[in-house]
């Protein structure tokens, strides 16, 4: 199977999954109790004609299938509809909030990759006291949920030491980076621990393999052995955790954004779910699913390039 055919097939699969996900996402909100119109009225009594008018305005009075078809048709054209609680276009809401979330996730991702790989490498190569220290700290990091980390970081670095603000996003890139540092650390901590462990284990496994012993016996310098033979060979394992890392970041950002009052889409998702703001929740969920799938696709496409031993195609060996 050629790489192109493989890529195209994965893309088609992704489109099909996204379609399925859209149905689940659209349907899920209808199963939960509560009606957006009643939230719009702040839980107050309303005359039947007032309720009818609101339901008609947001097409809530139409049968499920009709609503779903209308919504899907609009989404395909990039129109996510109008938010019920915010009374503005959902695309505008997202445009206002997506930058903070993307920046936060990128910062966390950089931290995870840098610290996770480095710690894993050191643990595997150095061994001894360094390794035990890394094992203990990563155990601690993995055991600390991000919202607990958020509270601890905030208490120490914002309230006690005043090094960082307690929350908010700030304006301009510099301000934003400063405001988002603590949230990014809170978001990254658990994943740093996880990636360090995965890297360490993968490298240790490769270290024990024959070709490493052979390379060493040929007199190849140790740092070259580690870099070329050990690290490169364990990258495949590390890469497959990449998808997991990004999806965890997407999910956890909801908690961390709330804890640090970062006005991103995670926080928006939280608030919109509470008020049953269907269009907003549907748009954010769909975007998150799409982001997650894109990352997995990238991992799948990169994997054969990093590790040529990986065969293309999920089912059969390439002919």
């Amino acid at each position: 199977m050629s790489f192109l055919r493989f890529a195209l097939r994965r893309l088609a699969e992704m489109a099909a999954t996204l379609f399925g996900a859209s149905f689940v996402i659209f349907g899920a909100m209808y199963l939960a109790p509560g009606n957006p119109a009643s939230f719009l009225l702040a839980g107050r009594s309303a005359s039947p004609e007032a309720l009818r008018a609101i339901n008609a305005q947001y097409h809530l009075d139409e049968p499920f299938a009709v609503q779903y078809r209308r919504w899907l048709g609009q989404v395909v054209h990039g129109d996510f509809g109008r938010s019920i609680t915010y009374r503005t276009d959902v695309s505008r809401l997202l445009a206002d909030r997506l930058p903070s979330t993307l920046l936060l996730i990128s910062m966390a991702l950089v931290l995870v990759l840098a610290a996770g790989l480095l710690l894993g490498w050191i643990g595997a190569v150095r061994g001894g006291a360094a390794d035990s220290t890394i094992l203990v700290t990563t155990t601690f990091a993995i055991g600390t949920p991000s919202f607990v980390a958020a509270v601890l970081l905030q208490g120490l670095f914002a309230v006690k030491l005043h090094w960082f603000p307690t929350g908010g996003t700030g304006e301009g890139l510099g301000q934003m980076l400063w405001h988002l540092t603590l949230p990014a650390v809170a978001l990254a901590l658990y994943l740093i621990g996880m990636l360090a462990r995965v890297t360490r284990a993968a490298m240790l496994e490769v270290l024990g393999q024959e070709h490493v012993t052979v390379a060493r016996s040929r007199g190849v310098a140790e740092h070259l052995v580690v870099r070329r033979h050990v690290f490169r060979n364990s990258l495949g394992t590390v890469l497959t955790t990449g998808g997991l890392i990004v999806s965890t970041l997407l999910v956890t950002t909801v908690l961390v954004e709330s804890a640090f009052s970062v006005g991103g889409i995670g926080q928006l998702l939280e608030l919109s779910t509470t008020t049953k703001d269907f269009p907003t929740v549907q748009a954010i969920s769909l975007i998150m699913v799409a982001l997650f799938m894109t990352v997995n696709l990238c991992v799948d496409l990169l994997h054969p390039l990093v590790d040529p031993r990986v065969a293309l195609g999920p089912r059969k060996q390439a002919a």
């Binding site: 719009l40 702040a42 608030l271």
Partner: protein
């Protein structure tokens, strides 16, 4: 119309967050509410807090101050201004025909006077020369237009039900508007002091079209105009130089959205926010001991209750309801659930909403009520007499806030002491608000904790709930005599007579234990050392309070 106010996203619990993490779609929310202590100081035994009539007047002007809000308002359109975040801001930008004073009484606002030539007519004479933020001058047309948006059932206004008795709103002079009612309605003129009575510029609203309230100017008349709205982060208000009244003491007021309760408290402790209302109860102690500023308590209009949602089960017997109410440890709840800052009560209404009543009426209204003290022996006897020993009742609980979870536990404890099997049904925080609006969500429940808040200073706001078919009459209580008296009271303009009828209704609701009242909950406001002047009462929802905030004396 009375209502409970549900409030998203203020307090969350760790458990709910984990759930949210697992489902990704789940969100953490919050319902709860605020304030409301008795007039004339706290009741005996609640030495933990003291009510302040106000905060010291500002000593000077400020360039800017920052105020913490627990959530971002979805829109600032006054027709949707029915929740704390939007009202806290809108009250400074948009003014109403009447206004609330810091003492929670009604005073003229954009209308110089309101007259009532006959029971079905209210005439509002407008202040002359009032300027809108975008440069226009207020006329009767703007008032007719603004109120018309509220009265239009298709407008999706949260205040629409308050216009149910309105027949017509017409201009009867360049600066005069006449409201014709279908029947006398004593609540309507009071609602003109809330966001229901806001006057916005007709031209401004029409120019903004469907974006009104979400971007651009609000084009109202208040001491502040809307500045930059940094979506997801903050809203800035700027002093309006053309204001007809007293000029604001601060050139800017910045509202930041801090959804997490501990982040909000931290921001106030670190000086990133100068102050805020709706302080999380769990932070009372930290803030008042911090030395960073002062935590004040003021009169509000909130009571914490147990709403009886079904009388089909064991609660159908009034003796069981009475026994449960008797066995409840209200003082214990105030101490644990409200951090001591509240007053145990057996009254459904706060003392403050009786402000317009003559002293003897008010006294009678409260003296007729059963004692809020716990009486286990008598409660036990009642349960035995009703043959309810061992019967099951279910109360909703949620990790939404201490007021909800601790109250549910208190009811359970009361039940177990008198031989009633009270079961807790845990509701996810994001589903809790659905209890108010969705009968399906209330299925299998006999009661749920509810903090109730009045929008006007009138006991009828809450007591109307027990009329046949009323929105929050979940248990389906129906009594012809109650309905008749309530209808009469709501049509009675004379405060003394209206309140006397309300006192009878309150007695009836208490005898029947339609809800179980638990405590009055005061408003809390924190001000750091830099600023002062904010009101302590819940008047901040409907009066331009931020204009009084200025520099504290050094």
């Amino acid at each position: 119309m009375p209502r409970s106010l549900t409030r998203p996203a203020a307090r969350t619990a760790v458990a709910s967050r984990t759930a949210a993490a697992l489902t990704a779609l789940a969100a953490v929310s919050l319902a709860a509410a605020c304030s409301g202590p008795p007039k004339g100081g706290p009741a005996p035994g609640s030495a933990a807090f003291q009510l302040s009539a106000g905060t010291p007047a500002a000593a000077g002007e400020l360039d800017s101050f920052t105020w913490a809000l627990y959530a971002e308002p979805p829109t600032l359109d006054y027709v949707s201004a029915f929740d704390y975040p939007q009202n806290t801001i809108v009250s400074n930008v948009c003014e109403s025909l009447m206004r609330w004073t810091p003492q929670l009484t009604m005073a003229p606002g954009l209308a110089e006077k309101a007259t009532n030539p006959d029971p079905n007519t209210w005439v509002y004479d407008l202040r002359a020369g009032v300027k809108f933020h975008d440069g226009g001058v207020m006329t009767a047309d703007d008032v007719v237009f603004s109120l018309g948006r509220q009265a239009d059932p298709e407008g999706g206004s949260a205040w629409n039900s308050d216009f149910a008795n309105v027949e017509a709103i017409t201009k009867t002079g360049p600066l005069q508007v006449t409201v014709k009612l279908k029947q006398p309605d004593a609540q309507f003129p009071q609602y003109m002091a809330t966001a229901a009575g806001v006057v916005a510029s007709k031209a401004g609203v029409e120019k903004a079209g469907k974006d009104y309230g979400t971007s651009g100017s609000l084009d109202c008349t208040g001491p502040f105009k809307l500045g930059t709205w940094n979506k997801g982060q903050s809203i800035e208000l700027q002093r309006f130089d053309g204001y007809w009244g007293t000029r604001a003491k601060s050139a800017k007021a910045v509202f930041t959205f801090l959804t997490d309760p501990s982040a909000r408290t931290n921001a106030m402790l670190s000086g990133e926010a100068d102050g805020g209302y709706l302080i999380p109860t769990e932070s009372y102690d930290r803030l008042s001991r911090s030395g960073a500023g002062t935590l004040y308590f003021g009169e509000g209009l909130s009571t914490v209750n147990v709403n009886v949602t079904s009388m089909k089960g064991a609660l159908g017997d009034v003796r069981v309801r009475r026994a449960l109410s008797m066995a409840l440890d209200r003082r214990g709840f105030v101490k644990a659930g409200l951090a001591g800052a509240g007053t145990a009560t057996n009254s459904l209404t706060t003392r403050a909403v009786w402000a317009a009543a003559p002293e003897d009426v008010r006294k009678a209204a409260f003296d007729a009520l059963p004692s809020p003290e716990q009486d286990i022996e008598q409660a036990k006897a009642l349960i035995k007499e009703a043959g309810a020993t061992g019967k099951t009742v279910t109360i909703a609980t949620s990790a939404i806030g201490q007021d909800v979870s601790l109250l549910a536990t208190a009811v359970q404890a009361a039940g177990s002491r008198i031989g009633l099997d009270v079961r807790l049904k845990t509701i996810a925080p994001n589903a809790f608000t659905a209890l108010f609006t969705d009968p399906q969500a209330r299925e299998g429940l006999d009661m749920f904790p509810e903090t109730y808040y009045d929008s006007i200073t009138d006991p009828m706001d809450l007591l109307s709930n027990f009329q046949t078919g009323a929105f929050q009459n979940y248990a389906g209580y129906s009594d012809a005599a109650y309905d008749e008296l309530a209808t009469k009271a709501r049509a009675e303009y004379d405060p003394a007579r209206r309140m006397a009828a309300a006192a009878q209704l309150q007695k009836k609701a208490a005898d029947e234990v339609l809800w179980i009242p638990v405590a009055e909950w005061p408003t809390a406001v924190f001000l750091n050392k830099r600023i002062t002047g904010a009101p302590t009462t819940i008047s901040y929802l409907y009066s331009p309070w931020a204009a009084d905030v200025g520099a504290a004396a050094r």
